[in-house]
Symmetry: C2
Subunit: 438 residues, 2 copies
């Protein structure tokens, strides 16, 4: 090749950083051929040097590359490209901004930072004329951000439905397939390494909400931050919900939902568990796999499926971005910058149009269905189906009433449920969940 190498600074050397360093070495010849110049590691910034100095038996890098001085590394004049896989807001943001200030293009896997303050990063990239890529921030190895930013650039996205958190999908898959409760399924996920000791970020939907913000921003050319996202986790999903879903030939999934309103004048962004029909392509996404289902005006329905986490898959996404940024160094040009021209308002959750599935434990006596139906009507919520059956195991004289509504505002639906709880004949709400994907 003869050309001098492009220098890559790697920030972070955990599971993902280690996999990136490994691919840079094992794939070196292919990468050089695809880029037109070789890539060379300039340095690897780590928190604790001691861990790395003995060398990793499986990591073919010179121990002299490790440094604890991340700021010094990104300020080096010879660095062309910076890969940030530290995660979290700081010091990642300062390092990325310093790297760009220094003229380097940046590849990041940092969903939290992109979802909280992507605008600052984009502004810095624009000012310096460098690239900012972050495919690995959403759905790991699955190419979804590049297709959204580029392949669908001539189309109009209407809806994005994503299973973007592997931990919660594993838990919900176990609950569906084995009948386990949430806590039992969580313990199993933890034992298998699919859930962390503190699973809050996953099971409370924070991780999915950050990804939803990123997806919505790209889909609708509008700035969306994690704080704009309505978020409900899966900790309150019960075995009864899963059984109810099964009875409707549906399955419970934690969905990241980004949607354009009918009139195209606002967007809704939310993360919550929902029942989707088993015939929906997302329903067969099992265990820790991720998938993103996109509905476009011209392209129709698309789905992107693969592994959402793990060192290899995430590193694959990082390397794809690195090749793109490196090619721009060699041949000129830049990847797409922030596209927020549409600048649409984010609708509050109450104004979002949804459908509810409600299972009620009611007294088995005449007039109950009429009373229940009256509550729905009082909020202008129309009912699609009602099923009623006597309960075997319940108190004598109990029945179960399962109502699926037509679409209504979430505010009307939630006010309806609040009123239902106050009805004399209603002994309890045994399952309450939104219905999507129909």
């Amino acid at each position: 090749m003869g050309e001098p190498p492009l220098k890559v600074a790697l920030l972070g050397c955990g599971v993902v950083g280690g996999a990136v360093a490994r691919l840079l070495s094992t794939q070196a010849d292919d990468l050089a051929a695809r880029i037109g110049r070789p890539l060379e590691l300039a340095g690897i910034a780590v928190r604790r040097l001691a861990r790395h100095l003995d060398g990793h038996p499986d990591l073919p890098v010179d121990p002299g590359l490790f440094t604890t001085d991340a700021h010094g590394l990104v300020a080096r004049e010879d660095v062309d490209l910076v890969v940030e896989v530290i995660g979290g807001i700081e010091p990642a943001r300062s390092l990325i901004l310093a790297a760009m200030e220094n003229g380097a293009s940046v590849v990041s896997a940092n969903k939290a930072l992109l979802a909280e303050d992507g605008a600052t990063l984009y502004a810095a990239a624009d000012k310096q004329g460098v690239d900012l890529y972050y495919e690995a921030a959403v759905a790991g190895a699955i190419p979804i951000l590049r297709p959204m930013r580029e392949s669908l650039a001539g189309d109009r996205v209407r809806t994005v439905l994503g299973i973007v958190n592997g931990t919660t999908n594993y838990i919900l898959t176990r609950m569906d397939e084995s009948g386990a409760g949430f806590h039992e399924a969580l313990e199993e996920a933890q034992a298998l390494g699919y859930a962390e000791a503190d699973p809050t970020a996953d099971v409370e939907g924070f991780d999915a909400a950050a990804k939803a913000a990123i997806l919505a921003g790209l889909a609708f050319h509008t700035r969306v931050t994690a704080a704009d996202v309505h978020r409900e986790g899966i900790t309150e999903v019960t075995a009864a919900d899963v059984v109810s879903a099964r009875a409707m030939n549906s399955v419970v999934k934690l969905l990241a939902i980004c949607e354009l309103s009918e009139d195209g004048q606002s967007v809704g962004v939310r993360v919550h568990p929902a029942m989707i029909p088993r015939s929906h392509p997302l329903a067969s996404v099992r265990e820790a796999f991720n998938a993103v289902f996109v509905e476009c005006e011209a392209a129709g329905e698309l789905m992107f499926y693969g592994r959402g986490a793990g060192g290899g898959p995430t590193a694959s996404a990082v390397l794809g971005d690195l090749v793109a940024a490196a090619r721009h160094r060699v041949g000129g040009g830049r990847g797409p910058g922030e596209s927020s021209y549409a600048d649409l308002p984010v609708r509050p959750m109450g104004e979002t149009v949804t459908r509810y599935h409600v299972s009620l434990d009611v007294a088995d006596r005449p007039g109950v269905l009429a009373a229940v139906a009256q509550v729905f009507a009082g909020h202008d919520v129309s009912i699609e189906t009602v099923r009623q059956r006597l309960l075997d195991g319940g108190e004598a004289g109990d029945a179960e009433l399962v109502v699926v509504t037509h679409a209504a505002t979430d505010a009307a639906l939630s006010a309806t449920v609040a009123d239902l709880r106050r009805l004399d004949a209603v002994r309890g709400v045994t399952s309450l969940m939104r219905v999507e994907g129909e």
Copy 2:
């Protein structure tokens, strides 16, 4: 915006061309915002003017844009971008080459041309420093070529399994779901517009073979033409094959298969019907939908799913490419060119490693299984499972023997089947199909 528009020449105004013209008009503001300059139709080359001059009620373009002089249109000095949706080898190739010669970037949906002579087009694009994009040539709206060329550029693709022909997938879906035979299902597909009056290109696998060549070329950085692809269509798939697949909890699909050999030193590219397990993500791709399943070393399993044909979906892919090429006009840079550095040989089909499912109608007498097993052993083909059952409807004394082999070369497997046919005890081979996706 104030910037002068980029001029687009559209070659062809059938279903896809019409949809492209429509999107250029309805999405004009969005496209301008995403590109940084507006796009403007410079002209539309059509074969017969009379059809178009009365105006299309649903096509908001100036009738004065239509011309029968395609060569004159691509030679115009003001044309920046050319969209070729004529199809076929000539005059499409000459027009594309003339357009590039004239300095225009080209977006094509022409799978036949790319699969036959992509090298010539790439060479011209390189020489002129223009872009050549063709996302719409494979799997319609599904972003698969850009992810393969760009997102996976840091990874190594091992296998591509694609359902890339909607017509045959529709027919096979009907055969699976209703028990229809091939001819009945084909007639149904024709009645619904999923198959053409002359369905040869689809049912004989020519269309899928062209797409397989394109996918293999991108996946393995090697030149592959349609002539390199081993091709078998679905005309010989019988209701008995479908029943046999069902008994194995499998389904018959026409697959485009591109694979790197174990040692990474050669590639195999083939199109043929195969049985895949119902648990495989491709098994649930129904009717006219397409999907491409990709296995990579680092990213693991990925799948891309959506509509493989139709005006809107194909136009969406064309417009995505058009935005990319237009952005390069505005901001500099170029998309990736041909990547054929690996230059791997394409293995003959006989050397390809596959597995067979063979159903035999055999005499129900002692020693038959031993004789059959001896034939497999004689070709070094090892057997994974054998099932034997008496036939209800057959001749008295008949039994069915269903054999699934372990992996062996296709030549050994096909020689085995030829020898089986010669065995006295074998009355007939009732189903013979390769097994994939396990």
